[in-house]
Symmetry: C2
Subunit: 286 residues, 2 copies
């Protein structure tokens, strides 16, 4: 594997995540080529200084790349792994930024042996989408999960870790099943809660004009991720369905228990439950 500074990197998908990563990587590699479906997106990425070269045709970019990063929705990544495999050169490191990993890893297993696959999932983002929102500092200070396959070489994993550190993230190596289970609770469940909360407000209070003036910080924070890109979230929920349903079922039991305590006016029980939650929150975010 070449050192990162000599690598030619191709990033497929120039949305918020791909565009931001491109901008962050430019200073650390030989060059970054952006691949997008729409010519306007390529033009924007060039104009914003996020890429060195850009194209709408993967065949122009992928054969020369030392590192290819797929920054599209999860099910598009799975399709592109198969579609792009014939275009990738000997020893090419193929990474992705998908939020669920088991189905992507399964697709990567089928790649020709000359390709080095490495699953990736940066734990950052914003509830906005598109190249216009891209920001090279987005990856600074976040955890970036890496999921190597059995077949991934130590050198390929090391290059992936160097790349992650170059953009300011901290690499965390996990297996696919464990990562999918963790993010089901810590990321995908909060999304479903935010959506349900927004729908609750829509059904009950949002026909009252005063609601708009008093939307409290609690509501704003708890509903924030409901603004996430729907196509991206659909792929995440569908490809992590079982783990998301399990986490949601646990949540529903916990909420129902609080409701029972409040319904019964069991003050001692309710207070103990809320205090335990508060202590746990403080343990997580001291």
């Amino acid at each position: 594997m070449k050192p990162l500074s000599q690598c030619r990197i191709a990033i497929v998908g120039l949305g918020l995540m791909g565009g931001s990563l491109a901008g962050a990587l430019r200073a650390h590699c030989r060059d970054v080529t952006g691949v997008a479906r729409r010519p306007e997106t390529v033009e924007d990425a060039l104009r914003f200084g996020l890429i060195d070269h850009g194209t709408t045709n993967p065949e122009d970019a992928l054969p020369h790349a030392d590192v290819v990063i797929l920054a599209t929705p999860v099910r598009t990544i799975i399709r592109q792994i198969r579609e792009f495999a014939p275009m990738l050169g000997e020893g090419c490191l193929l990474m992705d930024l998908g939020s669920t990993k088991q189905e992507i890893i399964a697709a990567m297993e089928e790649l020709p042996r000359r390709i080095q696959p490495l699953g990736g999932h940066p734990m950052c983002g914003k509830e906005v989408a598109g190249i216009a929102e891209a920001d090279p500092v987005l990856y600074r200070g976040c955890t970036f999960i890496l999921v190597p396959l059995e077949r991934t070489s130590a050198a390929a994993l090391a290059l992936g870790q160097t790349l992650v550190e170059a953009v300011g993230s901290s690499p965390l190596v996990l297996d696919g099943e464990r990562q999918d289970r963790l993010v089901a609770t810590l990321s995908h469940l909060p999304y479903l809660l935010a959506c349900s909360l927004v729908q609750t407000a829509d059904a009950s209070t949002s026909n009252d004009p005063a609601a708009w003036e008093i939307v409290a910080g609690g509501y704003r924070d708890t509903s924030r991720v409901a603004g996430s890109d729907v196509t991206m979230m659909m792929d995440i929920l569908i490809t992590n369905r079982r783990a998301v349903l399990d986490a949601t079922e646990t949540f529903q039991r916990k909420l129902a228990a609080l409701v029972d305590l409040l319904e019964a006016e069991d003050e001692a029980g309710l207070k103990a439950a809320l205090a335990a939650g508060r202590a746990e929150r403080r343990r997580m975010f001291p």
Copy 2:
């Protein structure tokens, strides 16, 4: 009623909310006296420059006050309304900062006629408590709900509005039933969701050390209010029980509908529901 600049103001309860309000009001009135149960709290408030005078004895402060503001948990406010009534002078404006209003208003109805009562609920706060966290800018830019009673004079309401504007908040006049129903959905329900989410993580992922490294922004935001002061939240939930249970029931139905769509892999239905939630979130926070 005297103009605000000539008023002597007493604030009972020098926690985050009372201490911050005291600090914000000092520049706009004759003087601010803080009343707290513990002498250390009074000393801290004096040392931080949040009050002009301080005492642990309400009888030292309340008889001279033109405005008295109760900044304690809701059920303490209800008790103090009855306990302090004999100490309040002719024409005294009695306000509170409690998050639920119907039970407080009912207690205010019983006050002697010489007292002018006005319910208040500032839509600001932090998930920390205590005088050490007090900050005079806390009230800037927030909506401050005011709930006048039938018996409240126009002059008393006007003084309350002037006071609210002086600390940088925007007054919003509502009746108690409507305010309690709105905040049940927009503030108290998000709190129950945050607590349940933290308990879900505690039950499933938080025994995995990797969970701490990947707690995503979605989880951090959605769980934030779980760190709120438990005594304060207990009083809120108990005194707004029916409205909170109604809002929670609506939420449970909305979440169950999303679960059903995901369980059935009904992609068109799930996507439509998520897109509607996203549009509503964006309508609320453009």
